[in-house]
């Protein structure tokens, strides 16, 4: 049912897949996510939607191999299928509800880190199609881990690259580059940061210092993704919220990142054990 029609390795550990999911592709909006399950014994894995094509009935996901379950995703080949793909889940980005006049007056800066770069792409494309000005920062540890450079260049106004080791673009973290751009007089009205939780935390701290509102997309733990389990609960503005139905995007200034970082590691011991014991059976006739 959920057949993989294209697969491409973007870096040795990051893989992009185009998957058939017609109902999902028709309903998807920027900012939403989906859940996949590779096979009967697999986990339900939440992934941000990296692209969607209603006419073709496909969605694009980008996955990084970091554990037993993400390794299982990456081991699937073109022509094979996911057992399940469900979504779109969560609320769409707030800007989807903005008036055209409002959008035309906004100057967005997106800060994308690692695989978080992929879901930034449809947001930037949507905003440009709706008349907003959009700059993008893509950050990675080193040049060969940068993804979506060409795609992003094609849809944004200005693309800025930074690497921790200086192998490409600005030498330094996304936070330093953001500070530099604002220091040069670029008067952004709104920032959006998507990437690892720790990167979103520090980007939010920088943005707050610069007085820049920032939206973050929280990649919390989840099971069902429909508000049923509460594994995804985060504290935002002192209130407990469910990232799966009330998020995944929140006002970064209000998010308790230290709690979110800690809660992400809730099953760290169990996952380490699973990684050590897991023998991937996908692609071997199941």
């Amino acid at each position: 049912m959920f057949r993989i029609i294209e697969k491409e390795m973007l870096t040795p550990a990051v893989c992009r897949m185009k998957v058939e999911a017609p109902r999902l592709a028709r309903a998807a909006r920027p900012g939403q996510f989906l859940i996949v399950r590779t096979d009967e014994k697999g986990e339900r894995i939440p992934l941000t939607i990296s692209d969607y094509d209603a006419a073709a009935g496909t969605v694009t996901i980008v996955t990084q191999a970091i554990g037993a379950s993400s390794n299982d995703i990456i081991s699937l080949e073109t022509g094979e299928s996911f057992e399940d793909v469900v979504g779109p889940l969560g609320r769409s980005s707030d800007f989807v509800g903005m008036t055209p006049e409002r959008l035309a007056s906004e100057r967005f800066i997106f800060i994308a880190g690692g695989v978080g770069t992929a879901p930034v792409y449809p947001q930037v494309r949507w905003l440009r199609e709706h008349g907003a000005a959009v700059d993008v920062i893509i950050g990675a540890k080193t040049a060969e881990l940068l993804i979506y450079k060409d795609e992003m260049k094609a849809v944004c106004d200005n693309l800025f690259i930074c690497t921790d080791d200086g192998s490409e673009g600005f030498h330094g973290m996304v936070t330093a580059l953001l500070e530099k751009l604002v220091g040069e007089g670029r008067d952004y009205t709104r920032a959006v940061a998507i990437g690892p939780m720790i990167m979103m935390k520090f980007t939010t701290m920088t943005a707050k210092r610069l007085g820049l509102p920032v939206t973050v997309s929280l990649n919390t733990l989840m099971v069902d993704g429909t508000g049923m389990c509460g594994a995804c609960r985060v504290t935002v503005g002192g209130k407990v919220r469910f990232a799966c139905v009330e998020g995944p995007e929140f006002d970064g200034w209000e998010v308790d990142f230290d709690e979110a970082l800690r809660r992400q590691r809730q099953y760290a011991e169990e996952e380490k054990e699973a990684m050590e014991n897991h023998v991937c059976k996908i692609g071997r006739g199941k």
Binding site: R23, L24, A27, R37, K41, G42, E43, R44, A68, S69, D72, E83, D84, V85, V86, G87, P88, L89, V223, D224, G225, T226, G227, M228, C229, G230, A231, R233, T235, V240, V245, E259, R262, R263, R265, Q266, Y267, E270, E271, A274, N277, H278
Partner: protein, 461 residues
């Protein structure tokens, strides 16, 4: 006299061994035991058990068939009123319904109606006896059923029997709703009992589409306007977990019972060959006293944890089925009654280490008639624990009400529907926990069946 025979006890797995496995606790009756137990029924002229059954099963009718050894005929009697007897025989609170009203129970022990219902259903399944033939759609009207729990399955089954073309949309990857994600394997075996109950519904021609979240993947409006459904039944249950709002509830190691049970049941975390993780640690405290609390506690016990139920009222007020409480005690679950958590305490790195509780005493009755517990001043104490599971009840999920214009909800978020299941919008019906708030499988099933009847009347207009 028939009632001189003592109630036939159903055989059960030994408590000490079952505390370490997920196999079913109760083995149920064999044919001889069922026939003997059935012979105890007085066949009352005015059967109070039937009046006490939410779906009005002809209880003396099916029991007399069992007593005569005609098990297939007994199944046919039950099938007139219930579509999930193998499930209800296992999970209904019989002691407050049919068995609680049994004439024999006044002086002695009531007839084991639940165990007999289960026997008839299991016997039919094992002997390949189908209680109704698959029907072919005789009209082209399409009905969408949202949710494949007890309400949805019952509604879909009845509509299919009337000849409607029915599609069930299920948000999760497996059908069954709470029967799949909530009730554990040791109470309701999934691969035998539940799977076959769902196969029976499919055999009637009902299509089940999983991985569709109505309110996200599609909306009720798109189903009606673009996909041509003439009516919709909403049986989405009460899936939203409640928390207490006390300090420390977001520490690592605090889970909703929904999360804990979903990981274990739907995702099969108790099996080494499944990837989804589950966390217990050495000690688990489960807060709450309902069936879900018992299920979570007995699951934690089976995963190897020393487990305690923390409940703010007394044993008499425990809302769980009597059998579940009895089984939990037999298996070695501890009970801290008249006790309420006030804070969850964690280590510097944010992991649960203890739960601070206060002793309670029963005060004056509240609006539900139950005596409300009040804290005893100065009685606070700490209980060491690695995990806290909150089993405080659930509320209806707002996904559908928020994405469908014209659907009124109550203050608590439940869909407003009349006694026939009609909501405030034409063509949309609802029933089960989505309307009543968290209740029982049998009440949801009854509501689903009632709504099927109203949908039929509505579409015939």
């Amino acid at each position: 006299m028939a009632n001189r025979i003592p109630r036939v006890q159903a055989r059960e797995q030994d408590p000490l061994s079952r505390a370490h496995n997920f196999e079913e606790v109760c083995y149920g009756y064999d044919a001889a035991e069922a026939t003997l137990e059935a012979s105890r029924c007085l066949n009352c002229k005015n059967p109070r058990c039937v009046a006490a059954c939410p779906v009005g099963i002809d209880i003396p009718g099916f029991i007399s068939e069992v007593a005569a050894g005609r098990f297939g005929d007994a199944a046919a009697v039950i099938a007139k009123d219930s579509s999930l007897p193998a499930v209800c025989g296992r999970v209904c609170p019989q002691e407050t319904q049919c068995e609680g009203s049994c004439a024999l129970g006044i002086k002695g022990e009531s007839v084991a109606i639940g165990k007999l219902e289960r026997f008839v259903a299991d016997w039919s399944r094992e002997n390949g006896v189908r209680t109704y033939a698959a029907s072919t759609p005789e009209n082209a009207r399409k009905v969408a059923v949202i949710g494949s729990g007890p309400a949805g399955l019952a509604c879909a089954g009845d509509l299919a029997k009337m000849g409607y073309r029915v599609t069930i949309f299920e948000a999760l990857h497996k059908p069954g709703g709470v029967l799949e994600y909530g009730i554990p394997e040791f109470r309701l075996p999934k691969d035998s009992v539940l799977k076959s109950a769902i196969e029976d519904i499919r055999a009637l021609g009902v299509r089940i589409e999983t991985d569709v979240v109505v309110g996200r993947t599609v909306t009720i409006d798109s189903l009606m306007e673009e996909e041509g459904f003439d009516a919709v039944f909403v049986g989405t249950g009460a899936g939203l977990p409640k928390f207490m709002g006390i300090p420390g509830e977001n520490l690592n190691g605090v889970f909703s019972a929904n999360e804990f049970l979903t990981r274990n049941n739907l995702m099969k975390a108790y099996r080494k060959d499944y990837l989804t993780p589950i966390h217990t640690g050495k000690r688990v405290a489960v807060v709450g006293g309902g069936n879900v609390a018992m299920d979570a506690a007995r699951t934690a016990l089976r995963l190897g944890a020393d487990t305690t139920i923390v409940y703010r009222r007394t044993e008499a007020e425990l809302p769980a089925r009597a059998e579940e409480v009895h089984h939990a005690r037999q298996e070695g679950i501890h009970f801290e009654l008249l006790t309420n958590p006030v804070e969850i305490i964690g280590s510097p790195d944010g992991k649960v280490t203890a739960i601070r509780c206060i002793r309670m005493e029963l005060g004056t009755p509240d609006e539900s008639g139950r005596r409300s517990p009040v804290p005893v001043a100065g009685s606070e104490f700490e209980m060491e624990t690695d995990t806290v599971i909150m089993a405080l009840g659930t509320a209806p999920n707002p996904l559908i009400s928020k994405t469908t214009d014209g659907l009124e909800t109550s203050r608590k978020g439940a869909l407003v529907a009349d006694e026939n299941g009609a909501t405030t919008r034409e063509g949309i019906f609802a029933g089960g926990d989505a309307v009543s708030g968290a209740a029982t499988v049998i009440l949801a099933m009854g509501a689903g069946r009632k709504a099927a009847k109203s949908i039929d009347e509505y579409l015939k207009k």
